[in-house]
């Protein structure tokens, strides 16, 4: 369970892609039903290369991909194909290069790399000879990894739907759905003073974050969202009468603009 820096892929950065330039920014949209889809590259002998140029040198240690259909692809930095990321999580590979992927989403933990650009070369698709697609692409760096996950009853991830509900006079209901947004309620108990201080440091940033509850490179639940923490900070509360018991409090995270 991690809080990351806001996505390094933001509207101000520069995409360089050799296909479907106009929809390249769809990779920033957390809704994976709106994907970047290449045009005219529905052939496994062709490669779509998307490079994301940062405005400054940034350290990348987390990579998230949702809504992909890629079988053979490579992620590398600073424009050199040999510069793959070294993955530190258990997965099908130890470098950010795949030849037979079957996952439609993956969250990668990698050795931090300070770089000025990241490129994804999309070569083959899971269903052969399809256009290459990416639903949501996150490049980021860890801010805080929770030292323990909350109890099940203290963790509530919810998809809130913005919709217009038309209640008809005969009792029927019709709905027009606009979008789905995540919210997360997390209650932590008996946390250490060090963890409390880390949370306070995060809170004091007054910045957006990427929240990833259970990132993994295989069989991922694909839960990852840009969030803000709007509620008061209440982790100075003791969990029990003994000071040594630790602290407790709650975090409310609401999805924000990517």
């Amino acid at each position: 369970m991690e809080l990351l820096k806001p996505n390094f892929i933001d509207p101000d950065i520069n995409f360089v892609v050799n296909s479907a330039t106009l929809v390249a920014d769809y990779v920033m949209n957390p809704d994976p039903t709106f994907q970047y889809v290449s045009e005219g590259f529905n052939n496994d002998l062709t490669t779509v290369s998307m490079r994301i140029n940062f405005l400054e040198t940034l350290t990348v240690s987390r990579i998230g991909l949702i809504g992909i259909n890629l079988k053979d692809f490579t992620i590398f930095y600073n424009g050199a194909t040999a510069n793959t990321f070294a993955l530190t999580s258990t997965g099908a590979t130890m470098a950010s290069s795949w030849t037979a992927n079957s996952e439609t989403g993956m969250f990668l933990y990698c050795t931090p790399v300070a770089c000025t650009s990241v490129t994804i070369d999309m070569k083959k698709t899971i269903t052969a000879n399809s256009e290459k697609a990416i639903g949501y692409f996150v490049l980021s760096q860890e801010r805080l990894s929770f030292d323990r996950i909350p109890a099940a009853k203290n963790y509530s991830p919810i998809v809130n739907t913005e919709e217009v509900v038309h209640r008809l006079s005969d009792g029927n209901t019709r709905i027009q759905r606009i979008s789905d947004k995540w919210s997360f309620d997390i209650k932590l108990e008996y946390i250490s003073e060090a963890m409390r201080n880390s949370l306070k440091t995060i809170y004091d940033l007054h910045d957006g974050h990427i929240f990833v509850p259970f990132g993994t490179s295989t069989s991922w639940d694909k839960v990852m969202a840009p969030v803000v923490w709007p509620s008061p900070f209440n982790f100075f509360r003791f969990s029990d009468n003994a000071v040594g018991a630790g602290f407790e409090g709650s975090i409310s995270l609401l999805e924000t603009t990517p």
Binding site: T33, F34, Q35, N69, T125, A133, T173, R174, R177
Partner: protein, 282 residues
């Protein structure tokens, strides 16, 4: 395959609203080529309405719309602010605003790719011009006043038209005169608001020549010379009022379509068959 009809009948359809902007170039005053999407900044969409006057059937009324935008990043500040969207462009006034609203039919293919079909294919519901005071609230919200496109006709007096004759015009000739109206620099006055193309002007008329539609301020005088002379009302009207009067005389209807096309067309009833079947116990 999803169609607009299947989406209308869908009890839980996905819908979208989008807001776009076109600025005017500082050098020519013409609109930039591409629409700029500003949907993410919308806090309140306001409302739009259209209605037909129950007495004077040639009058189609279009409402204004007030859109509230978040201005935390200063995008909607006046054009001299370098954070402003309009920085380096002409004034905010008379910028074009487009609102799109429609269904999105989503299907996931076996190749892992979502197909998002926007229905109708052109979901434009309103095009208007920014006109009026743009206020910034203490919560840093902008109330963007948007008027319907016909406002550009309302703001133009007939006495300022060039190309009028002293002998009158047919309705079609008058609208052609509007369509081809240019300013002192030879730039079209009205056409840029309507796709900057003649194909967005759809009009026909009878061959009746309306002698009042004239640059002669006495053109409406009766031949009876004993009647006192009065000035021709035509030259006191704005262009849209004249269009409405002509439509009334021609049994036509003037309006601007949801996607910004000028229409001056017959009031013929729609006789096409409904796409839906109606059933029930009645």
């Amino acid at each position: 395959m999803a169609t607009i009809y299947s989406e209308i009948k869908n009890p839980r359809g996905r819908v979208s609203r989008k807001l776009f902007l076109k600025r005017r170039l500082a050098s020519t005053g013409l609109f930039e080529a591409a629409w700029q999407e500003i949907t993410d900044d919308v806090k309140s969409w306001g409302s739009i309405s259209k209605s037909i006057d129950s007495v004077r059937y040639s009058r189609v009324r279009f409402s204004d719309v007030a859109i509230t935008l978040g201005n935390d990043n200063g995008y909607y500040n006046p054009e001299e602010d370098e954070n402003s969207f309009w920085y380096g462009y002409a004034s905010q006034q008379r910028s074009l605003i487009k609102i799109e609203a429609g269904f999105i039919a989503q299907t996931l293919g076996s190749n892992g790719i979502y197909t998002n079909t926007t229905l109708p294919a052109d979901p434009t519901v309103f095009i208007g011009v920014v006109q009026g005071d743009i206020s910034i609230s203490d919560s840093n919200e902008i109330a963007l006043p948007v008027k319907p496109l016909l406002q550009v006709f309302r703001d133009f007096s007939t006495r300022n038209l060039s190309g009028l004759t002293t002998t009158g015009m047919t309705a079609a000739q008058f609208i052609t005169c509007l369509r081809d109206q240019t300013d002192g620099a030879g730039a079209f006055i009205f056409r840029p608001f309507f796709g900057d193309t003649t194909t967005y002007w759809d009009y026909t008329s009878s061959s009746i020549v309306y002698k009042d539609v004239s640059s002669n301020y006495q053109s409406a005088q009766p031949t009876d010379t004993t009647t006192a002379l009065e000035q021709n009302d035509f030259l006191e009207m704005n262009v849209w009022d004249v269009v409405e009067r002509l439509a009334e005389a021609e049994n036509q209807i003037p309006y601007i379509t949801r996607d910004g096309k000028f229409k001056f067309v017959s009031r013929s009833a729609n006789t096409s068959t409904s796409q839906f079947g109606f059933f029930g116990r009645g």
